[in-house]
């Protein structure tokens, strides 16, 4: 039923929506920009339906195989660059995640973004001084960007060619930049957008280098190794024939991983993701929680056979993932901004996915990506709903919202429990499989690495549970602490109006709460369930890899003792959070904060990473070192070379000018000397 044209439509529908909004509605019908939202929702909705159908036919029935010829995009000599669709279980899973979350977020945005003059800068409060841009026109621009982002992300996951993938990879980065800096008149948002773009570019550079290296190593006229499937399937041959040595393989894998580090906010390029929270909240939910940041995980998954072939690369992936999982969680412990807590949590969960990939649990990592997308988007939408009521993101000025916003509270609670990994919510199943795989894996000399990451991960489980319930209690329990009226740094949008958010904002949260509860169990049940095979999702994903790689996979299973242990750890985290943050705390957070003052400061200042990058890399190395050196080179070498050319011309001209004095006798002299010289050459030349 689903054919190639329909799959292309998944990508083109949001793109058409972008064209419609950006090229027709915004320039010509700006007064009616209210229709931009429904248009975007409609197109994404259609895309979502096709994605679901594709998912069912490809992953469940297994009836769909794509035989369409790739489209020739570029021919250089014998080299052909082809674009096409790569449709494997990974792609179909990502299609569902991207279109599903995007649809929910767009529905939510139709209301969240409508409130004119809401949720933006403190710098120019009051509608008088605000630029005209802040009225309804923002609405069309927002949905144009969101549609473009969705299209780019879908293009990214469907790409069959590395170059095609890279193009979309950069496009989602661009959309992320545009949307983080959506309220560009706020200096913080503009700076955050710039930071996100530049920091991810550092990673992209690694990706690009790896891409070029791969091409230069494998280019042959008859086989196109830029095709993702071709390279993944031919890896054993390439390695055994010596085309790709072990060193080259590791370098390429690490290069791809550097790109993934940048995009997925992994240590040490994580600094941009918390700052990206300056963007509108639905943007954070879609781009910086569910989709774009998972592109890094997707990339590693896409080239998984390549990574598997290099043990060093796998170790790097596992360790970076493990370190990030714990490292980001520690910073989430002390943050007072609800969105930043969620951002650190996202970084931490992406660390889990990387860790899972690094220990060889491919299907499990993608499974966690799948479940995480739903409950993290839910949590972000919840924080947006809270912000809608209180006008602030600072949890110190919230509190007591449980009775005022019951639906938001319940959905946020579901999201938190799911994220903390409490039975039987979605997060429990995926996180537990990661822990189990880390615990069991240990073959091929990777015991130390997998044990290390297991320990890192289990500590992070405790912290995750703690910071989520800290956030939950600070936000929803106790007395209300004033919202934007008390918070000097808030970006208020009218008076504080405590109460449940409007229907169009609550609806997506309710819908997302359903997969946040059941999707883990449904997609990947520990045993046979209503016709779904045990560990169906992980199994399908793992078995989509080339056959030659199967022996490296960990397989799938479920262990009750380990699940009990991880649940206990999570529950104790929750218990500690309750003890510290319930209305009359058993343990006062202030006293702990005092006792552990240096640690608290270290975490609160985010390990001084911003200062390190800003102070050392940017100011010292870049400004004082590189910039000064290039400035000196420019002034002294480049400019001087240019000046010498000019000087030579001017002075040589002056020399010649001496002869052009208008005196006939001078001309005659020069002529005579010339004749004498010519005569001399004739006479004495031989």
């Amino acid at each position: 039923m689903v054919n190639e044209q329909l799959i292309w439509a998944i990508f083109f529908l949001p793109l058409i929506s972008f064209g419609l909004i950006a090229l027709i509605i915004r320039p010509f019908f700006n007064q009616a920009s209210v229709i931009a939202g429904p248009i975007a929702v409609l197109f994404i909705g259609a895309s979502f339906v096709i994605s679901i159908l594709t998912f069912i036919e490809r992953n469940i029935n297994g009836t769909l195989t794509l035989v369409g010829d790739p489209i020739n995009w570029l021919t250089i000599g014998a080299f052909k660059l082809e674009v096409g669709i790569l449709l494997d279980p990974l792609t179909t899973t990502m299609l569902v995640v991207v279109t599903g979350v995007s649809l929910m977020v767009q529905i939510y945005s139709t209301f969240y973004m409508k409130d004119p003059g809401s949720h933006h800068g403190t710098e120019n409060q009051g509608s008088d001084s605000e630029p005209a841009e802040l009225g309804q026109p923002v609405y069309a621009r927002y949905f144009a960007y969101m549609s473009l982002f969705t299209a780019s992300m879908l293009g990214l996951v469907m790409a069959s060619n590395v170059v095609q993938l890279f193009v979309f990879w950069e496009l989602v980065g661009l959309c992320s930049y545009l949307l983080i800096g959506f309220w560009f008149h706020r200096p913080a948002a503009a700076a955050a957008a710039k930071k996100a773009f530049i920091v991810t570019r550092v990673g992209d550079f690694g990706f690009l280098l790896a891409l070029m290296y791969l091409f230069s190593k494998t280019y042959q006229e008859n086989i196109n190794y830029l095709n993702i499937q071709t390279i993944n399937e031919n890896l054993p041959t390439l390695v055994s024939s010596g085309t790709l040595g072990a060193g080259a393989l590791t370098l390429i894998a690490i290069g791809f991983f550097v790109g993934a580090i940048g995009k997925s906010g992994q240590f040490p390029l994580h600094t941009w993701l918390p700052d990206a929270m300056e963007g509108p909240t639905p943007v954070s939910a879609l781009i910086h929680a569910a989709t774009m940041v998972t592109a890094g995980v997707f990339l590693v998954g896409r080239f998984f056979p390549l990574f598997q072939a290099s043990q060093e690369a796998m170790m790097v992936v596992a360790l970076v993932g493990g370190i990030t999982a714990l490292f980001a969680a520690t910073m989430g412990l002390v943050s007072n901004d609800i969105k930043r807590v969620l951002a650190y949590s996202t970084v931490s969960q992406l660390g889990y996915m990387m860790l899972a990939l690094g220990i060889g649990a491919y299907g499990v990592a993608i499974f966690h990506l799948f479940t995480h997308a739903f409950f993290k988007a839910l949590l972000f939408l919840g924080s947006g709903s809270v912000n809608h009521a209180t006008g602030t993101f600072d949890m110190r000025f919230m509190g007591g919202l449980r009775k005022k916003m019951p639906i938001t509270y319940i959905t946020f609670l579901i999201g938190s429990l799911s994220l903390a990994g409490i039975f039987p919510l979605a997060g429990f199943w995926s996180k537990d499989e990661i822990l189990l795989n880390a615990f069991r894996s240990g073959s091929e000399g990777g015991e130390i690495v997998s044990m290390t990451v297991f320990v890192l991960a289990i500590i992070a489980v405790f912290m995750t549970a703690f910071y989520m319930f800290r956030a939950l209690f600070m936000t929803f329990e106790g007395e209300f602490r004033g919202g934007s009226e008390k918070d000097p740094e808030a970006n208020p949008h009218g008076p504080v109006h405590l109460g449940e958010s409007p229907f169009l904002m609550v609806l997506p949260m309710l819908i997302l709460a359903i997969p946040a509860v059941i999707i883990g169990f449904i997609a990947n049940p520990p045993g046979e369930l209503l016709g779904i095979k045990a560990h169906w999702m992980v199994h399908t994903l793992d078995h989509s890899l080339p056959d030659s790689m199967h022996h490296l996979l960990k397989g799938e299973s479920f262990s009750v003792p380990l699940a009990a242990v991880s649940s206990l750890v999570a529950l104790s985290g929750i218990a500690l959070a309750i003890a510290m943050y319930k209305p009359k705390p058993l343990i006062s957070p202030e006293s702990i904060g005092k006792t552990l003052r240096p640690v608290h400061t270290l975490l609160y200042r985010k390990y001084y990473f911003d200062e390190l990058y800003e102070g050392i890399f940017v100011r010292q190395i870049y400004y004082r070192g590189l910039a000064l050196a290039s400035d000196w080179t420019d002034k002294n070498i480049v400019d001087r070379a240019v000046n010498i050319v000019g000087w030579t011309g001017a002075n040589f001209g002056g020399l010649i000018r001496q002869f052009q004095n208008g005196q006939m006798q001078m001309y005659a002299t020069v002529t005579s000397i010339g004749i004498i010289v010519i005569a001399a050459i004739f006479i004495f030349g031989d």
Partner: protein
Amino acid sequence: MTLERFLIIGAILFAIGLYGALSKKHAIAVLMSLELMFNGVNVTAVALSRYTVPKALSENIENAASFLLTGQVFAVFIITVAAAEVALGLAIIIAIYRSRSTVLVTEAADMKK
């Protein structure tokens, strides 16, 4: 008397004329120097004609007879043309004198304009 002596005298006359033509400021002196150069050339032409053509005749070189008087005839032509040129040159000098009240060639530096 050998050919070389005539040629040397011709060369000396030509060189003195060239020097004068290039260095003298007075237009009349320049014209006189030009005359010296003409005469240097004339001496050379006549001498070469006198010394080389009979030799060629005696050696039975083909067509030698047709060059018998070429050098001399050329000298006559040059003298005639030189006379005409001097007349022309003096006319120019008078024209310059009338327009600028000077006959110094350094003052007539209009070529660079």
